[in-house]
């Protein structure tokens, strides 16, 4: 279908699936190449995922961390953007099947990302939503704000305590960010707004099955993060594996925790599109790519970002971070450009240049690992702030987010405390998830 619209255009057709950091980097890297580029995404917006937890915690609006993919690429004349859901790939015929019909390609770059997984416990999803897109974030914001409202309305002390207990499952960066932001929300933002409850009495528990949080960081930074979280009032519980999740709480280890709100930050799995390819996947459902990021036997097909299992020199898969996806995208654009002019016979190998990683915990609290340099506290937080604002996709978002943060920093207020949609749950009822919670059940899609 896409082929037909450009008629007799003889330029090779490069199809990019996914408008995240990886997909956009590929498209931009081909801006002045003699190809036509089609970027497919089932959403109309690029999402600045590192700040998604801020939307979930009412600090930022959805539009502050998003940009229409069309607008991002509008000046790039060889590129078209289509909203489409990719249903499968016929590698032999070099053709995608989508809800818009078939799309033929000469080069294909799969950058469809990852989605939450509950490790076979799909029934947990409705009680413990994950955080992968804006709908997830709005749903979590709704649940968190509604929990305080429900506590304010609840005369029974036990039920009130349950409404005021928040459990975050998973001690990676997302779990740490959610737990820290939640504790801050309760202790500062909401502190004076209720009459019957004291929001500061809310319990925020961060549960992780491993022996420390932030395992991707050094032990020192792990310990510093745990200490900073505890200073905010978060109870950090490591070595506690979740055995069951239900509407009223969870069982972790031998322990029962009654909780009105449970958030899932414990695992992601490669886009279900990977499973339709018929190529080897790793345990996390990611495509095992060759060192040049192409698929075995298909030098014209690449897979990048969270959807790919790309091993580093030590044989460990690269982490699911924006810089990895962006570097891979630029790398693949280069490989395609080289191939267009017949160069080189042997492909280069992708190498990730690790400029560091960081996790934020709260106001003036974060940890950062920048090469050998380890930062904690205000210095790490300030570095985190500066880098995240610099990387925001366009000027306006940068300015709005900066303004929101300065405002929040000095006033202890948050700007996006909205409960929209179905409103408050009645009595003991929980709000229905606004979207299908197990993203992976939705069929293959970017």
């Amino acid at each position: 279908m896409t082929g037909s619209t450009t008629g007799a255009d003889a330029r090779p057709h490069v199809v990019v699936v996914g408008g995240g950091f990886g997909g956009l980097a590929v498209a931009r890297g081909l801006a002045s190449s003699p190809v036509r580029v089609t970027l497919l995404d089932r959403k109309n917006h690029h999402l600045f995922q590192p700040l998604l937890y801020q939307v979930a915690m009412a600090g930022l609006s959805p539009a502050d961390i998003s940009a229409p993919i069309r607008a991002v690429l509008s000046a790039q004349e060889n590129t078209q953007v289509l909203l489409a859901t990719v249903e499968g790939v016929d590698l032999a015929a070099r053709r995608l099947t989508t809800d818009l019909g078939a799309v033929e390609y000469d080069y294909l770059i799969l950058a469809a990302g990852a989605c939450s997984t509950w490790f076979g416990h799909d029934d947990w999803a409705r009680h413990a939503p994950g955080l992968k897109d804006l709908d997830d974030a709005i749903e979590i914001r709704h649940r968190v704000l509604a929990a305080f409202e429900a506590a304010e309305r609840e005369p029974d002390p036990a039920r009130r305590a349950r409404h005021l207990t928040f459990v975050v499952i998973g001690g990676g960066p997302t779990g740490v960010e959610l737990a820290g932001a939640l504790a801050e929300l309760a202790r500062t933002v909401l502190a004076r707004d209720f009459r019957r409850i004291d929001p500061a009495s809310a319990r925020v528990v961060l549960v992780d099955g491993g022996n420390r949080i932030l395992q991707a960081f050094s032990e020192d930074l792990s310990a510093a993060a745990a200490a900073q979280l505890e200073r905010l009032g978060v109870v950090v519980r490591t070595g506690l594996r979740v055995a069951a999740v239900d509407a009223d709480g969870l069982t972790a280890g031998d322990e029962r925790i009654e909780a009105g709100t449970i958030l899932w930050a414990a695992g992601v799995v490669g886009s279900p599109l990977a499973r339709t390819l018929g190529v080897p996947l790793d345990r996390a459902g990611r495509v095992c790519v060759l060192p040049d990021l192409s698929l075995p036997g298909h030098p014209e097909v690449f897979c990048i970002g969270d959807m790919a299992a790309c091993l580093d020199d030590a044989g460990a898969p690269l982490p699911g971070l924006a810089p990895v996806a962006m570097q891979q995208g630029r790398f693949v654009a280069g490989v395609v450009r080289d191939a267009l002019v017949g160069l080189p016979l042997s492909r280069p190998r992708f190498r990730y240049r690790d400029k560091g990683s960081m996790a934020t915990i709260g106001r003036s609290a974060a940890v950062a690992q920048l090469g050998r340099l380890e930062l904690t506290g205000f210095a790490a937080w300030f570095a985190w702030l500066a880098i995240h604002i610099l990387f925001l996709i366009d000027f306006r978002n940068r300015a709005v987010v900066l303004f929101n943060w300065i405002w929040s920093y000095f006033t202890y207020k948050r700007g996006a405390r909205l409960i929209t949609g179905s409103g408050l749950p009645r009595a003991a009822e929980r709000p229905p998830p606004s979207t299908e919670r197990d993203d992976c059940a939705n069929g293959a899609a970017p």
Copy 2:
């Protein structure tokens, strides 16, 4: 239930239903009075409704025009805010029934607003959504942005033209604002973002049954508004009564208009709560109040804002505008304060001080009636901008909105072009409404 929590508190209990302009004005007017105030709303946020069309047209984010009611009133110690749905009023027993249980009052102020009405054609609602709350605005934003996407994907010229036809029904301020903003969206914001369609070729039709748009304004201003709309490319069709609305368009007069998106700005009706009172209502379902805004036979119950039919000196009902609701709220707070000290024996009469009204059409285009002064074009637009920013509920929103406007003005971009939720409709399918479209079918509620 509310009574019990304050125990033996002997202060009179003032219950305010609704956290809009009217309800907030009452609560604030009683800040230092020897009463306890309970404000009930089924939403957690005050909404700056005059700018709601900007959210629907992707110019502003929902949080930019909202403020948590709790935060607005948090410093006011005699006031509590409860999220509750009011189901009915027992005037004789001085008691509300809510989903939280019964709430007893000494004074009751009903300020539950209005909702869209399709004049008995409730089946039109799903094809032609109204614009009364944030969920409506997000739904309309979704439909409008998705229509351009659908047109981009559509090979058939007739269907493509239908996707690019937008009809706004109702030539009041909301309809004029929607039509103008829609035309601007198509002609400037989206102009360069598509590859197969020219968004500027979109047809925006404003349909009204009367002989001119903006009937509340002078004939000169009506004509000026129509001319400004036509300059933006809007087709203004007056004297055309809508006879039928379906998924593919509408019949108006003898004419069939094929349209992919239809918006309803043709009528509102008082909150369904009014119908539970057993008091006389006007044709638009509003409570017929006495000159002091109280209910006949119930000097302790008041009704204000869009929910009330308050007649001016000429016997015409006051318009549903924020200044009317705010002045009425302050007036009723004064009546209650007087009553607390036993004054006066005869109640004053509410008089609306009309400081003017305005409608915006687009960039540098508006009409304003300020007493005898009539403004059009840039002067009216600038006055509109200044007044709306001044009235935004708190400092942060003011600054963010101002920034967004300056940014949009100079870049012709809009910041909130998000399609969230269920994503795009497939093929010819329409997106399901995100909420029940006929607000009035939801039972009595603020």
